[in-house]
């Protein structure tokens, strides 16, 4: 099957899974007793967080392979993962805020998980700013790989320090643990289908972005060799 066929297939799978997930989230799953209808956003929120974490891990892994092997394909993968991950990380923060307002009574609290996600968002925002400024050069790819690795090293210690920061201080609001018991098996099923749908969506988007960057790389190489050939033709 051609690359185009694979991408089309991925898109169809993601779309179908998303339709099933939507049906389950809005029709099939029972409404949570304590939180009411708002709790349904949880089935979007958690898959987005999962996908965002996966993509940021991908940025670091691709960075390591790029510095090790020096192949442009690794940088294209890392860059594509950072961009896609940023979309889902933004969605995590937005859906979290929408949920928090009616449940906690505030759009934002400095809870450990919220703070960690925000720091993550800022880190990869910085990464994307760096890439935008460096342009598409070999230098930009190297800088991106280094920053991607350093950011990934930073994440565990951010998690530890933010957790210590919040547990030593009494939290103003109770943690969300109480809210998400997922007592009903239908809730678990919905969450699993949502996770599958968002993972498929992520892979599809990542593929599209990756293929675009690959074409961009090839175009750059062709332009360079064309310029070289023209210069050589003028010399003779």
């Amino acid at each position: 099957m051609s690359g185009r066929g694979v991408r089309l297939g991925l898109g169809l799978v993601a779309g179908a899974l998303m339709l099933v997930a939507l049906y389950m989230v809005f029709v099939y799953v029972p409404t949570e007793a304590d939180q009411g209808i708002v709790q349904r956003i949880f089935y979007f929120h958690v898959p987005c967080a999962w996908v965002a974490f996966v993509s940021f891990a991908l940025v670091a892994i691709a960075g390591i392979f790029y510095l090790w092997l020096g192949q442009q394909v690794w940088d294209d993968l890392g860059y594509a993962a950072a961009e896609t991950g940023m979309v889902f990380c933004t969605l995590v923060l937005v859906t979290g805020s929408i949920w928090a307002k009616p449940i906690w009574g505030a759009w934002w609290t400095w809870d450990s998980r919220l703070t960690t996600t925000l720091i993550l968002w800022l880190l990869y925002g910085g990464y994307l700013m760096l890439r935008a400024m460096a342009g598409d050069s070999e230098q930009g790819a190297r800088f991106g790989a280094v920053v991607g690795i350093v950011a990934a090293i930073d994440v565990p210690i951010v998690i530890v320090s933010v957790r210590l920061w919040r547990t030593i201080h009494p939290a103003v609001l109770v943690t969300r643990q109480g809210g998400h018991g997922l007592e009903d098996p239908r809730m678990v099923a919905t969450l699993l289908v949502s996770l599958a749908a968002f993972t498929a969506l992520f892979i599809w988007l990542l593929c599209l972005r990756f293929v675009t960057l690959r074409m961009h790389t090839r175009l750059n190489a062709l332009t360079r060799s064309l310029a070289l050939a023209e210069a050589a033709a003028q010399d003779t």
Binding site: L67, I119, L122, L123, G125, G126, Y127, M129, L130, M133, A134, Q139, R142, F143, A145, V146, V147, I149, V150, A151, I153, D154, I157, V158, V160, S161, V162, L164, W165, I168
Partner: protein, 224 residues
């Protein structure tokens, strides 16, 4: 003389002769503290101590950014970086020397900020101020390690001065949290053992970022 001490000696000599970095860093720290006193108008007592600890770390972040930028970008003038890279000098040794220089400049600026903080926030020069030293030194080392690596990147980009704070500040968050907590505890008169957990976070941060910088510097060092 080892390559490390040769580069470090050159940087320190430049500083002793010209003295620009430490003066600029000290002046910036002074300004940050003054601005924060205006912004928060701190009273005395426990709240004052907490505000003072926060102000000290804001000053550290700002002076650290300036210090690392200067230590790295000074080499970009007149093609000094090219000469350094052409010399049989290990890139990791170059990083270590630049880190040591940035750390020393930051340490001097921090000493000045601690004195200014005591004056501006109406604290006392006593044992409590001495208990700040471990946290502040560890924080300065961590920030210097991080910022030296990132400054090597940002100094080679157009508009790179913007990239340095955008990357360095979020990455520094763990050390910032730990440092502010440990400093506030020290200023409130708590024994050092109570902040052990925060000092451990700072040590972990330092170890990770010094190692990362040492390993990754060779990929970012280069000419403008």
């Amino acid at each position: 003389m080892s390559p490390f001490s040769a580069v470090l000696r050159k940087d320190l000599l430049l500083e002793v002769r010209g003295g620009q970095s430490t003066v600029a860093l000290g002046a910036l720290s002074l300004l940050v503290l003054v601005v924060l006193v205006f912004a928060f108008n701190p009273g005395g007592g426990e709240q004052g101590a907490e505000a003072a600890a926060g102000a000290l770390w804001v000053a550290l972040v700002f002076s650290g950014m300036l210090g690392a930028t200067r230590a790295v970008s000074a080499e970009n003038e007149n093609g000094c970086m090219r000469a350094l890279l052409m010399s049989p000098l290990d890139r990791a040794a170059l990083y270590a020397a630049k880190l040591a220089a940035a750390f020393i400049f930051m340490g001097i600026a921090e000493a000045a900020s601690i004195i200014l903080m005591v004056l501006f926030f109406n604290l006392e020069f006593d044992a409590r101020v001495m208990r700040l030293v471990p946290a502040v030194l560890l924080g300065a080392l961590g920030f210097a390690a991080l910022a030296t690596l990132l400054a090597a990147i940002s100094s080679r980009l157009r508009g790179g001065d913007l990239v340095l704070p955008l990357l360095a500040v979020p990455m520094f968050v763990p050390a910032l949290i730990a440092g502010v907590k440990a400093s506030a505890a020290a200023l409130a008169g708590a024994p050092l053992a109570g902040s052990a957990v925060w000092l451990k976070v700072l040590v972990a941060f330092d170890v990770m970022f010094v190692a990362a910088g040492y390993l990754l510097f060779e990929y970012v060092a280069g000419e403008e």
